[in-house]
C-alpha cells in the first residue's frame, strides 16, 4: 500500500461533505430544533419560544392530524403489501414462466416508474373523473353503472384512489428488483421441484418467497417509506387532501401547516413524528424478516 495521499483525499471528500452538512445535516438538525419551538412566520428562530414537547402533545388533540395519521396508516397497511405481492408474482412469471414475450412485459410494467409523480397524479385524476373518467366509463360498458362513484370527490373512496395510483406506479419498480433477486436463486432448485411435480403456484410459495425472505424484507421497507413519502405528491396533486381531509396524509398535512399556515414549529413536529414512524416500522420489518433463518 502506498503512502496515503492526504491532500488528495481531503480534496475529494471535503466539497461533498461540506455541501451535505449545509443542505442536509443543518436542515435536519434545524427541523428537530424547530419541532420543539412555537416558530411561525412572524417569529422564526430565536424570537420563537421553546415549548419542548407541546407540539407533539398538541398533535394528538388536533383532529385533522389524527385523521391524516389514520389515513396514512390505512395506506401503509394495504399499499406496500399489495405492491410487493403483485411485483413478486410478476417477477416470478417473468423469470420462471414460459412466455416468449417476457421482455416486453418487463419494459411496459416499468413504464409508470419513469413517469413524474405529478403526471401520475394528474393522469389518475382523469381515470377517476366522475363525468369523463376512464373508470366510470368502464363500469358503464360492463353494465355496472350502479357501482359508479365520484371517486376523488367522495370521502369513502378518495384515499383509495390515491392508493391505486401508488400501487400502479410502484409495481414495475419492485418487480425489477425482485427479478434480480430471483435470478440469484439457483435454477437447479426449481428444476428439482419440477421433477418432484411441483406446480408453479407451489414453487412460488414454497421456493421463491422463503428464499427471498431477506430481500422482500428490504423491498417492503422501501415500499413503506415510499408510501409515506410519495402519498404527499399524489394527495397534493389529486385531492389537496380533500374532501374534508378524507385523503390527507401526514406529509401533506405537514405541508399545509408549514407552507400554508406558516406554523413551522408544529409542521416540523409532524415531520419528525413521521420520520420516526418510518424508522420504527423499518426496524420492525427488518427484525421480522431476519428471524427464522
Amino acid at each position: 500500500m502506498v503512502k496515503k495521499p492526504k491532500l488528495f483525499i481531503a480534496l475529494c471528500t471535503l466539497p461533498a461533505l461540506i455541501l451535505t452538512v449545509v443542505f442536509m445535516i443543518v436542515p435536519m438538525l434545524n427541523a428537530i430544533y424547530l419541532s420543539f419551538t412555537s416558530s411561525t412566520a412572524l417569529s422564526v428562530g430565536f424570537n420563537s419560544k421553546f415549548v419542548f414537547l407541546d407540539n407533539y402533545i398538541y398533535m394528538f388533540k388536533d383532529k385533522d392530524f389524527v385523521q391524516a395519521l389514520f389515513n396514512t396508516f390505512k395506506l401503509m397497511l394495504v399499499i406496500p403489501a399489495l405492491t410487493i405481492f403483485l411485483s413478486l408474482v410478476f417477477a416470478f412469471i417473468l423469470t420462471q414462466g414460459e412466455l416468449r414475450e417476457k421482455s416486453f412485459y418487463r419494459t411496459v410494467f416499468f413504464f409508470p416508474s419513469v413517469v413524474s409523480m405529478t403526471v401520475v397524479g394528474i393522469v389518475w385524476s382523469f381515470v377517476f373523473n366522475p363525468t369523463r373518467g376512464i373508470l366510470n366509463h368502464m363500469l358503464d360498458l360492463f353494465n355496472l353503472s350502479s357501482w359508479k362513484h365520484a371517486w376523488l370527490g367522495e370521502g369513502k373512496t378518495a384515499l383509495w384512489c390515491i392508493g391505486a395510483a401508488l400501487v400502479w406506479q410502484a409495481i414495475g419498480y419492485y418487480m425489477v428488483m425482485h427479478v434480480a433477486s430471483i435470478d440469484g436463486i439457483s435454477q437447479e432448485i426449481y428444476e428439482a421441484a419440477s421433477i418432484d411435480g411441483a406446480t408453479g403456484v407451489q414453487k412460488f410459495f414454497r421456493i421463491t418467497i422463503p428464499l427471498l425472505r431477506r430481500s422482500i424484507g428490504t423491498t417492503y421497507i422501501l415500499a413503506l417509506s415510499g408510501t409515506i413519502n410519495l402519498s404527499f405528491t399524489l394527495s397534493n396533486v389529486m385531492t389537496g387532501g380533500g374532501p374534508n381531509g378524507a385523503s390527507s396524509v401526514l406529509l401533506q398535512y405537514m405541508y399545509t401547516q408549514g407552507m400554508r399556515n406558516a406554523n413551522f414549529g408544529y409542521a416540523m413536529a409532524i415531520a419528525m413524528f413521521t420520520l420516526l414512524l418510518a424508522i420504527v416500522l423499518a426496524m420492525i420489518s427488518r427484525k421480522l424478516s431476519a428471524e427464522k433463518e
Partner: protein, 275 residues
Amino acid sequence: MKTVRTWCIRILMILFTIIFLYPLFWNLMSAFKTNAEYLTDPYALPVSLNLDNFVAAWQKANIAAYFGNSVFVTVLSTALLLLFVIPISYVLARYRFAGSKLISTIYMACIFLQATYIMIPLFLELQAINGLNNLPVLCLVYAVMQFPFCIFTLQGFMSAVPKDYEESARIDGATNLQLLLKVMVPLAKPGIATITMLSAMGFWNEYPLALVLLTDDAKKTLPIGMANLFEVQKYATDWGALFAGLVIIMIPTMIIYLIGQRYLLQGIGAGGLKG
C-alpha cells in the same frame, strides 16, 4: 394442459399491460384531440394528428419556459452531482482514513431521509441566504439530496473493480488524479451511467422541493407548472393544453428509459432507490 396454463398467464399479463398502458395511452390520444372531439367522446381515437394543443401549450400555457427551466435544472444538477460524487466515492472505495467508516455510515443512514421531511427547514435556510427562486441553488440542493444513494452505489461499484489497473498505472508514474480520471472512471462507467440516468430522471420529475423553493412563476419547472395548470384547468373545460403538456413532460424520460433500459434496470436490480 401446459398451453392452457401458459395462455391463462398470458391473458393475466395482457390485462395488466392494459392497466399499465391505457391511462398513458388515453392521455396521449387526448393530446391530439380538439376540445370538441374530447367533449363528444373522450374514448374515440383522434380524427387526425392535430398539433394545435401542443402549440397552445408551448405558447400560451407557458410550457416553453417551464421546459427550459427543467432542462437547465436537470443538466446542471446531474453535472454537479457527478462532479462531487465521483471523487468521494473513489476515495471511500480505495482508502481507509480517519472518519472514512463514519462518512460511509452517515451516507447510508441518510438514504432513508427523503427531501420532503426537510423541505421546510430548507425553505427557511434558503430564504435567509436569498436562495429562493434561484435555479443554480436549487440544482445544488438537488445534487446533495442524491449524494447518499449515489455515493453508496458508486462506492460499491468501484470497490468491485480490481486494483491491478491502478497499481500498474501508478508504477508508470500516474498521479492520483490521473488514476481517478483515466483509470477508474472508464472502468466504473456502467455504475456512473446508472446513477446518472436514475438521478437525471429524478431531477426532471422532482416535485416537493421545487414546490417550496420556487415560488416565482418564471422559475418553475415542468412538474410544478403542470400541477398548477391542472389546478386551474379543473374548473375550465379546455383540457387540450394540459394533455399536451403531460405528453411533453413524459417524452424525455421515456426516451432515456428506452435507450438506457439495460443500465437502468441493472442499477435498480442492484438496489437502486426511488427519490
